[in-house]
């Protein structure tokens, strides 16, 4: 098993925890002394750096939320002066006002180191040609992956998003071996390639894809792999964490979180208390070495579980499970929590419908209604209306079983649902709040 930084990646768990405690202690002293925002929050919370006497004492520290970045727009949360910053990224603001993220030289180094370890774990390295089809610019995906891929000695094709036919030509001409993009964009690329008469399996050298920036299910992974004949790796990150940061390894048994960089807690989203080991909860992250701004007990909002067991690949750092949704993606329909990822998971088990879907939530009178629009797969189209009605009923029944609410399904023509090149927006909520 090739590792980028084997000494760190195989560090025994207790050594990791000792290191985390030292890093946390230093971080909190520094923030208390120099960061106005977090010092104020600690004082309001009645906690002093001297109260942190063990790693478990992290639970005494106040949380941070996405709103803290918005409330401090653009930069009053920062620790450092502008002279020390070497870059800004600005989040897309899909869930609210934009968020400004700053990086010192050391922050960029930490980000690149994290990705170098991660991409090596995805069995990439010197000799690979990686097409980075994440957006370049204010979005963290493109530049983050770019520097990570260059660090491990791979050749980068910085193609960004869009102009899909040209991307497919470049993929062939430059012998691209791996692509980094959102899962929905890869589906789009696959469809466009088929239309162009390009067989990804035979006509390209593509062996893997590093996919993220939006939640996607394990079933979607299987479908992509079977269809395109590649290995699909899950990558995780958010702009506040720097950008894409962590991936699965070749075992694909969870996403490795480098514990010297990030301290993970899994909390009950309602009480803020730690859940039992292995249980699902809200991912909460502390960046132990971040310089530009504090990121302490940051409630990311993604739902997952964590294990500290050593991975069969030999890496000892904790792993989190595939993200099963975001707290703020969660829809409440007639009082029942519904995640779009559950809908995706269900649809992926039904071969008669395509990979794209759209959820439309509306209110009729006092009652919420949920409509799921799916595309009829080629193999499933029948001239007989009754066959199509059976399919519609089958999808409705499967969704009802999975979600515990009744859902109506609309069969649509192939290609009629919106395709997304960046982050997909699969939910339209028409309810007035």
């Amino acid at each position: 098993m090739v590792m980028w930084n084997p000494r760190v990646e195989q560090m025994p768990l207790q050594d990791q925890k000792d290191l985390q405690y030292k890093l946390l202690k230093t971080l909190i002293y520094k923030l208390y002394s120099f960061n106005e925002f977090y010092c104020k929050r600690m004082k309001e919370f009645g906690v002093h750096p001297d109260d942190i006497r063990s790693l478990d004492d992290i639970s005494k520290l106040p949380f941070m939320y996405k709103s803290d970045f918005r409330d401090n727009y653009p930069d009053t949360i920062f620790n450092v002066t502008h002279e020390e910053l070497v870059r800004y990224h600005v989040s897309s603001g899909t869930t609210g006002k934009p968020t400004v993220v700053g990086y010192t030289e050391k922050d960029l180094e930490m980000w690149t180191e994290s990705l170098a370890r991660a991409l090596t774990a995805c069995e990439l390295g010197r000799g690979d040609v990686i097409q980075v089809s994440y957006g370049y610019g204010l979005f963290t995906g493109g530049l983050g992956m770019h520097y990570g891929a260059e660090r491990i000695g791979a050749t980068v094709v910085p193609s960004g998003v869009g102009n899909t036919e040209r991307q497919i030509e470049l993929m062939q001409d430059l012998h691209v071996t791996s692509i980094a993009c959102t899962p929905s964009y890869l589906l789009h690329i696959g469809e466009v390639a088929e239309k162009m008469g390009v067989d990804i399996r035979k006509d390209t050298n593509l062996k893997s894809a590093v996919l993220g920036a939006e939640p996607w299910s394990g079933k979607m992974k299987n479908r992509i792999e079977d269809w395109l004949g590649i290995r699909a790796y899950n990558i995780y990150g958010t702009s506040e964490l720097s950008g894409p940061m962590f991936t699965e390894c070749s075992e694909r048994k969870g996403i490795h979180i480098w514990s010297d960089i990030a301290l993970v807690e899994i909390l009950d989203p309602d009480t803020g208390e730690a859940v039992a080991p292995g249980d699902k909860g809200e991912l909460t992250i502390t960046l132990l070495q971040k310089e530009a701004f504090p990121l302490v007990r940051y409630r990311v909002g993604d739902i997952t579980s964590m294990t500290e067991e050593v991975c069969p690949c030999g890496r000892t750092h904790p792993r989190i499970d595939r993200l099963s949704g975001r707290v703020d993606d969660m829809l409440i329909i007639r009082g029942i929590n519904v995640f779009p990822s559950q809908v995706e998971h269900t649809l992926m088990n039904i071969p008669e419908v395509g990979s794209h879907f759209q959820i439309i939530v509306d209110k009729h009178g006092v009652l919420d209604s949920m409509l799921v629009r799916v595309e009829v797969a080629e193999s499933a189209f029948s001239d007989k209306i009754s066959d199509l009605m059976v399919l519609k009923k089958k999808v409705e029944q499967s969704l009802r079983n999975a979600l515990n609410i009744s859902v109506s399904v609309e069969l649509t023509e192939p290609g009629s649902l919106p395709r997304f090149e960046g982050k997909s927006k699969k939910v339209i909520d028409r309810r007035e709040l």
Binding site: S382, D383, M389, L411, T412, E413, S416
Partner: protein
């Protein structure tokens, strides 16, 4: 007789039930210079199936598929009816007695006679029965 000669390749197209979808299909056929002999629309909850008999079914199928429509061929037969009271009854009665089920049907009335397009559960048997009964069927080659 060769039953296959009478089996017509009908084009079936999946369509959403919203304004402009028939125009999209018909417009595509127009662009390709394909003539429509007969068509019908079956509608269900939110979607429908456009069924049509055209002069160049393979070309129509490929062209509509390439445009992203879900298209399939369905075997149908075309029976010539007397355009007078009892014309439909004769055919329906005969098929009923032969235990052949009509899944759907549509008709058009021409200058000389009326044509009934039939989708049945056992196409070849229906062709034979109708022929033996002395009714006239149109050969697939007539639709060209």
């Amino acid at each position: 007789m060769i039953e296959e000669d009478y089996i017509i390749k009908q084009i079936s197209v999946f369509s959403e039930n919203r304004p402009g979808r028939l125009a999209a299909v018909a417009g595509a056929l127009k662009e390709a210079g394909i003539n429509i002999f007969a068509f019908s629309i079956a509608e269900a909850d939110g979607f429908g199936v456009i069924r049509t008999i055209v002069d160049q079914p393979i070309k129509a199928h490929d062209m509509l598929s390439n445009l992203g429509f879900r298209v399939s061929f369905t075997d149908v037969i075309a029976v010539v009816m007397r355009d007078e009271p009892g014309g439909l009854y004769d055919i329906a009665e005969m098929l009923g007695n032969a235990e052949i089920n009509i899944e759907y049907a549509y008709a058009y009335s021409g200058k000389e006679n009326a044509i009934l397009i039939l989708r049945v559960d056992s196409t070849k048997e229906a062709v034979k029965k109708i022929h033996d009964y002395g009714e006239e069927l149109l050969k697939a080659s007539r639709f060209k």
